[in-house]
Symmetry: C2
Subunit: 350 residues, 2 copies
């Protein structure tokens, strides 16, 4: 479990103005991170373009942050100057509700402070993300990064990695399971790597026949083309678990039909509009449709340690910050295999 509220209270922070673009001073329990790379998540686009509503500007997106510690507060214990450090989707939470106590800070009952487009727990100071040279974060929400992992390729683990690792762990996926990863993008390609690393028979379910080769390279034993009804029919009732990463509208029934009785489809992608779910799809076979959202801090560290041990990173295309708008357009077209990672050195040449 992360440090308690009583402990966190020692890290008193001075609120910044609501329109602030500044970083706060390094508090007693904060680390100052010099950012090396920041991954580009689809949610960056939604928020930068205010597609979800309620966006707070000025906004610095980015919640897949990798860098090095260059300053530590005087009570910091986990980090020293020079250490590698990572920051994901959250920078603080209440630390005392039932969710926080269960290591599920992402479901903090008082609302976790997200890394950007959010507020610190003071509910005044805006948070700003990783498309930046530096960031100040409480050590309790800062992750340790294994030495052997490449920085650019590790950045996306902080969101895409934990988002797929967590449900596969929660539903105890491993040897003997037949697992389908629906959608092969930023999330899906990590799902394939983890599910196969956990020993499951891993099948990619995609609309794109041209991704079959990649699927194999990433660890899948096969591919099902979801638009091919005959291909889908061959696999009805055969899957233990499906991880659905699709964020476009879809009919869940053909996927639920792929599950064995008592099988689960966990969704991590969020289509903009509600799906049409006929309840027969879950009643026949006592099936489960469940959601999952990133993962808690302890589990994110566990995931990073697992990646270090098994040498797992994301497949990235490195870009300078100057190419971010083009990168957004390419992501919308699905034209990236499989994640952009911004080299923050490029900020210095701006």
């Amino acid at each position: 479990m992360i440090k308690t509220k009583a402990y966190a209270a020692q890290n008193a922070k001075t609120p910044l103005a609501p329109w602030s673009f500044d970083r706060r001073n390094v508090g007693d329990m904060d680390v100052l991170i010099d950012i090396e790379y920041c991954g580009v998540c689809h949610s960056d686009i939604h928020q930068a373009r205010d597609e979800w509503g309620g966006a707070m500007f000025p906004m610095v997106p980015g919640h897949e942050i990798i860098g090095r510690v260059i300053e530590v507060g005087k009570k910091v214990k986990k980090f020293k100057v020079g250490d590698r450090a990572g920051v994901g989707c959250m920078v603080d939470s209440c630390r005392e509700c039932s969710a926080c106590r269960a290591d599920l800070e992402q479901f903090c009952e008082k609302g976790a402070s997200l890394t950007y487009n959010s507020l610190e727990l003071d509910k005044v100071t805006p948070t700003q993300g990783g498309y930046a040279d530096k960031i100040v974060v409480d050590e309790a929400f800062t992750l340790k990064i294994p030495d052997n992992l490449d920085a650019a390729a590790t950045a996306p683990l902080l969101c895409a990695g934990i988002t797929t690792y967590s449900p596969l762990r929660h539903w105890k996926i491993g040897k003997g399971h037949k697992v389908g990863i629906i959608g092969l993008g930023g999330l899906g390609h990590m799902g394939v790597k983890f599910a196969s690393a956990f020993g499951a028979e891993t099948i990619v379910i995609t609309t794109s026949p041209d991704k079959a080769e990649d699927a194999k390279r990433l660890g899948a034993s096969g591919t099902i083309i979801s638009r091919d009804a005959d291909d889908m029919a061959k696999h009805i009732g055969s899957f233990d678990f499906l991880l659905n990463t699709v964020a476009a509208q879809y009919d869940p029934a053909p996927y639920l039909n792929l599950l064995k009785h008592d099988g689960t489809m966990a969704v991590v992608g969020v289509p903009n509009k509600p799906l049409n779910l006929h309840l027969f799809s879950v009643i026949m076979g006592r099936k489960t449709l469940a959601g999952s959202l990133i993962g808690g801090i302890a589990e994110t560290q566990e995931m990073l340690d697992f990646c270090g041990k098994h040498n797992i990173t994301s497949d990235v295309e490195i870009i300078p910050i100057q190419h971010i708008n083009e990168a957004y357009e390419r992501m919308i077209r699905g034209d990236v295999r499989y994640r952009f990672s911004i080299d923050m050195q490029s900020l210095k040449t701006a």
Copy 2:
């Protein structure tokens, strides 16, 4: 587990014509039951009126059957003449698929033989249900009825009872859980009895304020009026489990909001059209929407034994068969507390 296919093969049956209204002869492993009462399930209406399509006529509805054994086949071991006997929604299944081997005959991969409007495993002989004086059923699909239970009030346990008992058991509901039963009808009133018998804090969630008194009498500790947004708001994030028995269209989001993180809403009612499910409803809090369908034969027997021990039966209004059409109309209006049970003696006065 119920008897294997090899064992069942000894009970060879002569197929009857597809339009048959006859009962088959009593096979070596069959029992002949003199029907005393048959409960009236909402699905009887859907099927008698062909609202689900594919109805087979002539049709004798009824799958909540209670009676006495009046003849047994020569290899029958579980029953003797004079024993009480019950029949629920199924009369046979393949007995060898993974579902049957898991005591989940309702999900038999080859399709279970339902009690009526279905076919025997020969896929030719129609099955006919309990609005009748007698029925012939394989002993493996015939339930034993505890002596202390009233026949009329026990009949609905065979469908409404097991439909609510099974998910509460599957999701291990008991002491320390806060459980919501959504909808107080034939299914819901059994859900309240079981959830409270299992030791859970049980709350009825209903559109009808006039059912609060009944809810309490049935074992609930409180009632939430689902149309009252303030009432609902008081309970956000507080339930461990919801059993949703509603068969009308509804928005699942306000119910899912009532769950704690990692909570489950199990649905047993089937609205005619798909529901609109926004995936944020399950992603926030890692919630589960799952289905459940009656229960297997072993679990149905377990439920009946539990009811015998705890003296649990359904609240019924007894009718003669001559009133069945009126009863259907009243059920559609929700005008029954909480299940009709047909006295089959009335057939003799027809």
